[in-house]
């Protein structure tokens, strides 16, 4: 459905993206993850045909974006970051205008406008001026204009940024319900969001892909290690730490920063040492105040991958 090959984009001497390739099949949801300036927006702008790549190719449904821009653009619905809308227009008139530009059959324009207004819950604001909308409704209006021609592909740039928690959940659910048979690319730097909505994830940093994975594999990879935190009743001795370090399956042990009565223990996932750990702690005359299993989240992988990249650079 979408085939991106070796994409490079230079802004003057600054390389915004550097050799990005991936393919996406029909019906998949891809998350583009990365810190600020990673090149998510740039990648999306190239796929939507707003800016050309410096080199590399993008094919959408077999059409090359530089050779057949119109065919490609017909299939894509795009929601830019902080959607730029015509502030002076009235919501439903704006949507009608977009429908006309997006080749919606003139007989179906009124019904498609109604449909997206329903879908995006815009009913209460449809007669208001776009410039006066709250951030949440503005985002929905942006989503509505992307959906108006019922596109096969949706490209959403940080669809939930700047929204309140309730709106975030609503928009996420909306996106999930939209997915169905559509192919979706969405960008975010909020990890749980990608974890919840996307099937596959690409982590970008400084214009390069630092990790690609299917959500399932990624979580498996994440669950490879377990990590625990333990708070004890008194100061923990060096000796005790070294004692735990020698357990089979323990990767790393150390005091938590700025605490002398709490430690973290990283272990191999294949080996469960919890009961042994607790028993020997008590045997060493410590009382356990708290014991926590830390989920290794996508967040950790993300931080690890992106900071590693920084260190290497």
């Amino acid at each position: 459905m979408i085939e991106v090959k070796n994409l490079i984009k230079n802004y003057g001497s600054c390389r915004a993206i550097d050799g990005i390739s991936f393919t996406l099949n029909k019906g998949e949801i891809l998350g583009l993850l990365g810190p600020n300036g990673a090149g998510k927006t740039t990648t999306m702008r190239i796929i939507t045909g707003f800016i050309p790549p410096s080199s590399g190719t993008v094919k959408v449904c077999g059409y090359d974006i530089t050779e057949h821009p119109i065919q490609v653009k017909r299939k894509i619905g795009y929601l830019p970051e902080n959607p730029p809308l015509y502030n002076e227009m009235i919501v439903h008139k704006y949507l009608k205008y977009v429908a006309e530009l997006k080749d919606v059959n003139s007989k179906k324009i009124a019904s498609s406008v109604e449909k997206v207004i329903d879908l995006c819950n815009l009913g209460v604001v449809k007669d208001r001026i776009v410039g006066n909308l709250s951030k949440g409704f503005r985002q929905r209006t942006g989503l509505a204009q992307a959906l108006i021609n019922d596109p096969e592909i949706l490209i959403l740039d940080e669809p939930t940024s700047g929204l309140d928690p309730k709106q975030i959940i609503e928009i996420r659910n909306l996106i999930k319900s939209l997915a169905g048979n559509r192919t979706v690319i969405l960008s975010s730097h909020i990890l749980p969001e990608v974890q919840m909505t996307c099937e596959s994830v690409i982590i970008l940093n400084k214009g390069k892909i630092v990790a690609v994975d299917h959500q399932k594999n990624l979580s498996k990879y994440l669950n490879g290690n377990n990590s625990y935190e333990m708070t004890l009743s008194k100061k923990i001795s060096k000796k005790f730490i070294n004692f735990i370090k020698d357990f089979e399956g323990v990767l790393d042990v150390g005091l938590m920063s700025d605490k002398n009565n709490a430690i973290y223990i990283d272990t191999k996932g294949s080996k469960d040492i919890r009961s042994k750990l607790i028993k020997s702690t008590i045997d060493n005359e410590y009382e356990i105040l708290e014991f926590k299993t830390k989920d290794v989240s996508l967040e950790d992988v993300f931080m690890k991958l992106t900071t590693e990249e920084v260190n290497n650079a």
């Binding site: 802004y11 702008r45 800016i51 050309p52 894509i76 730029p84 205008y97 006309e100 530009l101």
Partner: protein, 255 residues
């Protein structure tokens, strides 16, 4: 073409959402109305003096009223067209709405044509409002309607050139003021270019005369529609719009 009209219609309506459309129309009609009144008084006085002295009238209605009137319209367009073209593309860039516009299935040509047409609709509306003056003259007098007709043709062509220059500058910047100033300066330059013609060699002066945007209006003012001048205006327009097209496509130039 259909999509150009969609864009043109929307942008035309936008003129009347902001005060710009009303400002343009009212200031234009105010000055033209004043001018018409003055010229009419002048003509009436001339003909009164003429009849008292028992001499035949040595000035026609067209020369006394119509021609100066359309000269003023022309001058006003020079000042006011930058005001209505400055926002066309610059504002889309400033508000970043161009990002969405260019990801819709429309070509840059359709976009430019739409923007051009929206300003031309406003010009057409303005010119339509001025039709009342020849109508008044027609009711009360005996003007040369043919000459009035060719003048309108000439004004439409001339203003199309002004608008195309405005669209061009608007496509190059996201600052409306810069777009307006550059439009005005380049139009003024095209107006006065034939002044320079007197001081240069024969070949150069014929080139400059040819380029001068006003020279080509003269034939329309005389009541004729000259093919040569029509071709000049149309190619001028096409060329300026083509440059605006390049202005939009500039984002595609590889660096």
């Amino acid at each position: 073409m259909k999509k150009s009209c969609v864009i043109a219609r929307k942008d035309f309506k936008t003129y009347f959402i902001s005060p710009i459309g009303y400002l343009f129309l009212s200031s234009f009609l105010l000055i033209i109305g004043f001018m018409f009144y003055q010229r009419l008084i002048y003509f009436v006085r001339q003909s009164l003096i003429g009849s008292q002295m028992g001499q035949p009238l040595n000035i026609t209605l067209n020369d006394a009223v119509i021609k100066p009137l359309y000269g003023t319209i022309n001058l006003l367009f020079l000042f006011l067209v930058p005001m209505i073209t400055m926002r066309l593309i610059a504002e889309e860039k400033k508000q970043r709405t161009i990002e969405l516009l260019l990801t819709y299935p429309i070509t840059s040509t359709q976009l430019i044509t739409g923007k051009f047409l929206s300003a031309m609709f406003l010009i057409a509306l303005t010119l339509a409002c001025t039709l009342t003056y020849p109508l008044i003259l027609y009711i009360g007098g005996n003007p040369d309607m043919g000459q009035i007709f060719t003048m309108y043709i000439g004004l439409v062509l001339l203003s199309a050139c002004y608008v195309s220059v405005g669209v061009f500058w608007s496509s190059l910047t996201e600052n409306q003021i810069i777009a307006a100033v550059l439009t005005f300066v380049s139009l003024l330059f095209l107006w006065i270019i034939d002044w320079a013609a007197q001081n240069v060699g024969q070949f150069m002066s014929s080139v400059l005369y040819y380029l001068s945007i006003m020279r080509h209006f003269e034939s329309f003012g005389e009541g004729t529609i000259s093919l040569k001048d029509t071709v000049y205006y149309i190619s001028f327009c096409t060329f300026a719009l083509y440059l605006s097209y390049l202005g939009i496509e500039a984002r595609n130039w590889k660096n």
